[in-house]
């Protein structure tokens, strides 16, 4: 086509590890035109970030380009050395990273960091650099830039830090910007603001952008062309519309199906071939509770204040029936995790009461709650499957531990049987039980976490962002698993998440939190289709939508 800015030709990248060379990228061919935004989509380990790092020459010491060419304006980037390379980095192409706070120097004022980048490539005075820094801060819409120049990264929010990062990246007007998961970890509303800003800046300055992301919806919203990567190869490249309406490659089909959309149902998350098993279970209807059954959980006017300052949660009331699923959504800092932890009795509420199955448990100190007979009825699944498993416990120990502590099971045979039963219920192959967490994949660890939580047959399961750290295809399977457990065993689910699409699918009712208070609540589908408050509407609108035309519906 017209003007090719970047041409990657049969790129191979290998990493030397303890187990020998591992090939992360195996023959990627890509081209980026001047001023276009290209989406590079794939799950973790697909090699999309490595491709980005190879292009900007930021690979770890262990990583090496073993084959292929990266042509930038006709010049092979992989062969550049010394000053030639430095003139390229920052000035001609630059990069924006995931986790913006870590990407900024924690002990250097942000104004200086931006000025560092400017002074590297322009021979101007410090005052002139300062003036340019101010302009850049204005360009990335940071309010009160004069004062913020002297701020340190820890004094800014995640979204602010990412704007500063963008300011650094665009400081020398590069022709190519590579954004590596620029909004992962940010709230949906912040994500929208940051991405809109990035797209506007790129358009205004005529920069070409590669958007590396695991989120198909995000790529579809901002890119006109999307390349899908799997295991180091590009499996498909097409316009978003074509990708969603007629995915050619099997992997793309799976990925498209697993990405939750505004209309998808839990059972839609896997492709047709994989669906058979699941369908039989879903057909079993949920038993209706007779009218007048007392609620399983009743929370009255719960409040939590930390040491000093305003309340993290205030005046929070809700009820849950047995077997019901309720979603708790809100941006970071809205108090959703604090609330879920109070209900789990992991932290003590400052005010209010929690009634579980007719018994008041709000006043039992969280320190002593492990002795309560109700402990095994309320269990929790935590956000990070890596951090929430003891690294020195095997999967078997992890699942057996609550059984021994809470159910008092000692007999080895019975214990083994129960653990294996739990593992089977969450679909964890039994031969993985003797493994340690680091020998398991993310999805397998998530299953161990869920198996541990359901081991004592709880009646209420509190899940704090259980799929936030997982790839969409793994998330799809975990969500189906949770839905199945709920239907089979009548476990009530309190699902804490920032992902509204997931909540919409999984939960009967949804509660929207903001600044520690309830903004809106109601039946999930109605609430999302027709939000009553501006805040909820803003949240719903910020979700990247995937256009699901009739063609797609037919394909599924």
């Amino acid at each position: 086509m017209s003007e090719e800015l970047l041409g990657i030709n049969d790129l191979h990248v290998s990493f030397s590890t303890r187990r020998g060379m591992v090939e992360a990228v195996r023959g990627v061919t890509l081209s980026v035109e001047k001023g276009e935004m290209l989406g590079l989509v794939g799950e973790s380990g697909s090699g999309k970030s490595v491709t980005g790092f190879a292009t900007t020459r930021l690979l770890d010491a262990a990583g090496r380009v073993t084959g292929g060419k990266i042509l930038f304006r006709g010049q092979d980037v992989t062969k550049l050395r010394g000053d030639d390379l430095r003139q390229l980095q920052g000035a001609a192409m630059s990069m924006i990273f995931q986790n913006p706070r870590a990407a900024l120097n924690p002990i250097r004022a942000i104004g200086l960091q931006i000025a560092d980048a400017i002074l590297t490539h322009k021979k101007i005075s410090k005052d002139a650099a300062r003036a340019e820094t101010l302009e850049l801060l204005c360009a990335v819409q940071i309010r009160d830039p004069e004062t913020r120049m002297n701020a340190y990264p820890h004094e800014l929010s995640g979204g602010m830090c990412q704007r500063v990062m963008i300011a650094i990246a665009i400081s020398c007007n590069p022709a190519l910007l590579i954004a590596d998961e620029p909004t992962t970890g940010l709230d949906v509303t912040t994500q929208k603001v940051v991405m809109d800003l990035l797209a506007d800046i790129a358009a205004a300055r005529g920069m070409a952008t590669i958007l590396i992301t695991h989120d198909l919806g995000l790529a579809a919203r901002y890119c006109r062309r999307i390349a899908v990567m799997e295991r180091g190869r590009i499996v498909e490249e097409a316009s978003p519309k074509k990708l969603f309406s007629a995915p050619q490659h099997a992997y793309t089909r799976r990925l498209v199906a697993a990405s939750p959309t505004a209309t998808s149902r839990i059972e839609d998350l896997v492709t047709e071939e994989e669906r058979e098993r699941h369908a039989t279970i879903v057909s079993k209807p949920r038993q209706q509770l007779p009218h007048g059954t007392p609620p399983l959980l009743e929370v009255r006017k719960l409040a939590k204040r930390f040491d000093q300052g305003s309340a993290a949660v205030a005046d929070f009331s809700m009820t849950m029936a047995g077997g019901e699923s309720v979603g708790l959504v809100g941006e970071s800092g809205s108090g959703k995790s604090t609330t879920s932890r109070m209900i789990c009795r992991l932290i003590d509420p400052s005010e209010g009461d929690i009634v579980f199955d007719g018994q008041s448990i709000g006043h039992v100190a969280s320190r002593d709650f492990h002795r309560s007979p109700l402990r095994k009825d309320i269990q929790m699944v935590f956000q990070d499957p890596n951090e929430s498993l003891n690294p020195r416990f095997t999967a078997f120990d992890c699942i057996a531990h609550p059984l021994m502590r809470l159910d008092g099971m000692r007999a080895a045979d019975a214990l083994r049987k129960r653990v294996e039963e739990c593992a089977e219920r969450v679909g964890l192959p039994l031969d993985l039980l003797p493994r340690f967490p680091h020998q398991l994949s993310g999805g397998q660890k998530a299953r161990v976490g869920i198996a541990r939580a359901i081991a004592c047959r709880p009646r209420l399961l509190v899940l704090d962002e259980p799929t936030a750290a997982l790839d969409v295809s793994v998330q799809a399977v975990v969500l189906q698993l949770l839905d199945r457990l709920r239907r089979e065993n009548d476990i009530a689910l309190l699902f804490v998440s920032h992902d509204l699409n997931v909540v919409r699918m999984l939960c009967d009712r949804t509660i929207v939190l903001r600044n520690g208070g309830i903004v809106e609540q109601g039946e999930s589908r109605a609430l999302f289709d027709n939000p009553k408050t501006d805040y909820t509407r803003k949240l719903v609108e910020a979700i990247p939508h995937i256009e699901t035309g009739p063609a797609l519906a037919a394909a599924l």
């Binding site: 900007t56 930021l58 980095q89 920052g90 000035a91 990273f97 990407a103 924690p106 250097r108 590297t120």
Partner: protein, 344 residues
């Protein structure tokens, strides 16, 4: 900025107050320990080995040792409250005066040693971290290992043998200056500074020459922990996201390594340097002995050997106070170097 400084001062004050109970504990503990240790000071300080029973009793009464231990403790504490650390039986002088004379010598030696150690250790650690697994890295590791496994008195004697006996470069290793040099008027107690203030360059050079060997032999011992910490935290720093950011915009190598990586990596080194300093101050008795350095540690050791209670108790109190002070200084330095701390 002013609020940050104010907050630091408030924190410092609070830390000082909270360390008072610990200091009191140290005081009582040392006092009791000295009474439990074998050896009777009255016998030791009596006129001779065949001193009579009455004479010993009299000395005992004079020293207040005839009273019960709790009574002695009360007297001791009230003395301390009045700023009186007692009198040394060895030197016949008040302990406070002895310590005040000797502390600058110890401090000067320790400061110099720490400075030498830092000047050597930080670059070594940085060089090792820049090329982990290379020959340079292994060389630094070997050097550190040697420094740690050779005791200070051995390295001190080796240095004396080479630089004084063989090469004749160093002066006679006895004391802070040779006997013929006239001392400058005492201002800071640090001879190298006092000579400079007095404008006596020759005297300054003489003092420095005396200082360098003991300081180096002490420094050799602590280079290892400092270099290892620098290397480890430099490796973390170099692998961090913000260094990657700095490289992504093409900052110069110098800027990346020094301004971005090293400034962050130096934070834990500050903490370790504080610990190393406190340890050196108490543990440099061997070096002081080898080089006849008139410091507090050798003073306390002599007192301990002769069951002279007051100097030992005074020394322990001094060390404990210095430890508190050094930690405080480290905290303040850390607060200045890391803007995140004042928030937390």
């Amino acid at each position: 900025m002013t609020t940050g400084l104010g907050a630091t001062m408030v924190r410092a004050g609070r830390r000082l107050l909270s360390s008072l109970p610990a200091l009191f504990g140290v005081l009582v503990f040392t006092f009791l320990l000295m009474r439990v240790l074998p050896g009777d000071p009255a016998v030791f300080f009596a006129s001779g080995p065949n001193a009579g029973k009455e004479e010993i009793e009299q000395i005992r009464k004079q020293m207040g040792l005839d009273r019960s231990v709790p009574e002695q403790l009360v007297f001791y504490l009230s003395d301390i409250g009045h700023g009186n650390l007692g009198r040394s039986m060895m030197t016949g002088q008040p302990v406070l005066k002895d310590l005040r004379e000797r502390l600058p010598a110890s401090l000067e030696l320790t400061f110099t040693a720490l400075l030498i150690a830092l000047i050597a250790a930080v670059p070594l650690g940085v060089v090792a971290a820049l090329k982990p697994g290379s020959i340079v890295d292994h060389g630094v590791r070997l050097f550190c290992a040697l420094g740690v496994c050779v005791p200070t008195f051995v390295s001190g004697l080796l240095l004396i043998y080479v630089f004084y006996y063989l090469l004749g470069l160093a002066p006679d290793p006895t004391g802070r200056v040779d006997v013929f040099t006239s001392l400058p008027p005492q201002r800071t107690g640090f001879l190298s500074i006092d000579f400079l203030l007095a404008g006596d360059i020759e005297g300054w050079w003489a003092a420095c020459k005396q200082l360098i060997l003991p300081a180096v032999s002490m420094a050799l011992f602590v280079i290892a922990p400092l270099a290892r910490i620098t290397r480890a935290s430099m490796l973390v720093s170099l692998g961090s996201d913000f260094v990657r950011t700095a490289r992504s915009v093409g900052l110069s190598w110098r800027k990346v390594v020094v301004t971005y990586a090293l400034r962050n990596a130096i934070l834990p080194v500050i903490t370790i340097a504080g610990i190393v300093f406190s340890t050196m101050l108490g543990a440099n008795v061997l070096v002081e002995k080898v080089f006849s350095w008139p410091g507090v540690a050798s003073y306390a050791l002599d007192a301990l050997l002769s069951s002279d209670y007051a100097p030992v108790q005074g020394f322990v109190l001094l060390m404990a106070s210095l430890f508190v002070l050094v930690n405080l200084v480290v905290d303040i330095c850390y607060g200045i170097a890391d803007p995140r701390v004042s928030i937390a």
